[in-house]
């Protein structure tokens, strides 16, 4: 039995008040396990990003809980939640959000610097992770000198450098062509998925469904189906 990475129960989120109230997520519960690559799929507006934000400590749910290591993250203080994100979660944003005025290496080192790691050690570690994503040679360049695919790999290195238990991607292949998209997911899965880590991917892209261990299908803020391994269709 794999270990539970996080357990979401009764998650709800709505935006606006009164007449204008729209439900983004209603009554979602599921478990994510260490060692698995879990997808969240669904049509646009179905609440995927909202759900991802709530389980990664970015958006406070209106109801429900997210238990990590048996503790509800949303019952802690804002600083503790920030620390949770810093120490346990690695984010790869859809448009990367790298700092154009810092070098690639410094960009990757950011989480370590906020963990108050010594500067030189942070840089050393950042270069190791750049090496792991095949970009060691670009450490001293600013990110805007890199191609889109390379920038994404920088973002991946930044997400990984702090050794997170939970690695989160939002639409990782949206700005990549089919083959590059597949290649990067394959790469991430083979290289960075292990039994101490859970990788969560939100995507529209059915071309990469094959890499998932399980897929949560959402519609209208609710889970309509959870598929595992063999039963994944496109």
């Amino acid at each position: 039995m794999p270990e539970v990475a996080l357990a979401a129960t009764g998650l709800e989120k709505w935006f606006g008040e009164g007449e204008a109230r729209t439900w983004a997520v209603r009554g979602i519960g599921f478990e994510a396990f260490l060692g698995e690559m879990l997808y969240i799929v669904g049509p646009s507006g179905s609440g995927k990003t909202t759900l991802l934000s709530m389980i990664s400590g970015i958006l406070k749910p209106d109801a429900g809980s997210v238990a990590v290591e048996g503790k509800d993250i949303w019952s802690s203080s804002p600083n503790d939640i920030a620390d949770f994100r810093l120490n346990k979660v690695g984010f790869v944003f859809q448009d990367f959000h790298l700092f154009p005025k810092l070098t690639t290496m410094e960009n990757v080192a950011i989480p370590l610097i906020f963990k108050k790691m010594d500067w030189d050690l942070s840089m050393k570690s950042a270069v190791e992770f750049l090496d792991a994503v095949g970009l060691a040679g670009k450490a001293a360049l600013p990110p805007n000198k890199l191609s889109g695919g390379e920038q994404q790999r920088v973002a991946i290195a930044r997400a990984l450098v702090g050794g997170p238990d939970l690695l989160i991607f939002d639409e990782p292949t949206a700005s990549l062509d089919g083959t590059t998209g597949k290649r990067i997911i394959d790469f991430v899965k083979n290289k960075f998925l292990n039994d101490k880590r859970c990788i969560l991917i939100v995507t529209h892209d059915s071309r990469i469904y094959g890499y998932a261990d399980r897929i949560i299908a959402m519609e209208d803020g609710q889970i309509v189906k959870i598929m595992s391994g063999g039963e994944i269709e496109d």
Partner: protein, 378 residues
Amino acid sequence: MKGILRVALKLLVNDRGKFAALIVGITFAMFLIVQLTSIFSGILTKASATIINIGSKVWVMDPSLQNPLNTIPMPSYVLDLVKSIDGVKYAVPLYSGVGLVKLKDGNWQPATVLGLDDATLVGRPALLEGKIDDIFGADAFIIAKDEDYPKLESPQIGTTFEINDHRSVIVGIAKAPVGGLFGIPTLYTTYNRAVQYLPNTRYTIAYILVEPKSEADIPGILEAVKKTGYLGLTRGEFEKKVSNYYIFQTGVGTNILMMTFISFLVGMSISGQTFYTFVLENLEKFGALKAIGARNSELVYMILCQASFSALTGYGLGVGLSALLIAVGKKYVPNYTAEIGFWNLGLALVMVFVVAAFSSLIAVRKVMTVQPFDIFRG
């Protein structure tokens, strides 16, 4: 936190264009503030030239006196009263008036004439040339070598001219630590000769210079002078009184301070605006940092570091530039007056921090309200 500081500064400095605009704005404002206030201090010091050059510890004067140019003579019994006050070592009169010097070309040049007590010469200047005792010789005057010295055609020892139709001869050339504000030369002579040469009202004592037996006697002496109906001031108090006159009664002060305030506003708007744009442009990145796990307090710290770093850099450059210009000005511009003192530097420092605080405040508010969720949603 050192690493965070380093990241913050790199983000700031590597954004060359904006950083340059920011620094230029602050430097310019600081330059103007220091420059204007220094000129102002220079003017105030010059206004107190007589007080500084004579150097008496305690001054007695008519209570309605406002500035050293217009003295109000006191009757001689006041001198006797002051002499008899407890704690007074000695008290002597000082004459101060303006005489008209007739130049060789037939033009007239006004000059301040200071008459020193005949018996003691209290308040006498240090001489560059000549002997002080020659002041007792016939028609003798000593001239101060200040910026206005050339206006009497740079007289040498032995040069003669007429003051108010009386023959006069220069017997000494004196050091003048501070030149006067009014752009006229200063002549020293004895009290009796001054009274004789210059037209006078019934009374002739402009000030009484008092030397106390000890510093501790000063408050008592001032108190006793007050009882006689006259005004006793320490040197510092007298300078302050003169300063206040120019600040509040002449418009010089208000106008310069107004200009200072305007430079401050201009500097504040330029740098506040630039800093705000800088933060605004990096807002998404700050949001991403929040998502990654930076605490609000750490982001505030980054912004404060960036703002203070810009502020201090601009302050340093502005003060440096000002000091340079003042040095050049003093060398090449006659009668140029500007003094950088602790108060100008302090005032500029306070102002630059107000600018920094104001700029960071609006930036911080913006950054605090960024929702990482919005960054996430793209």
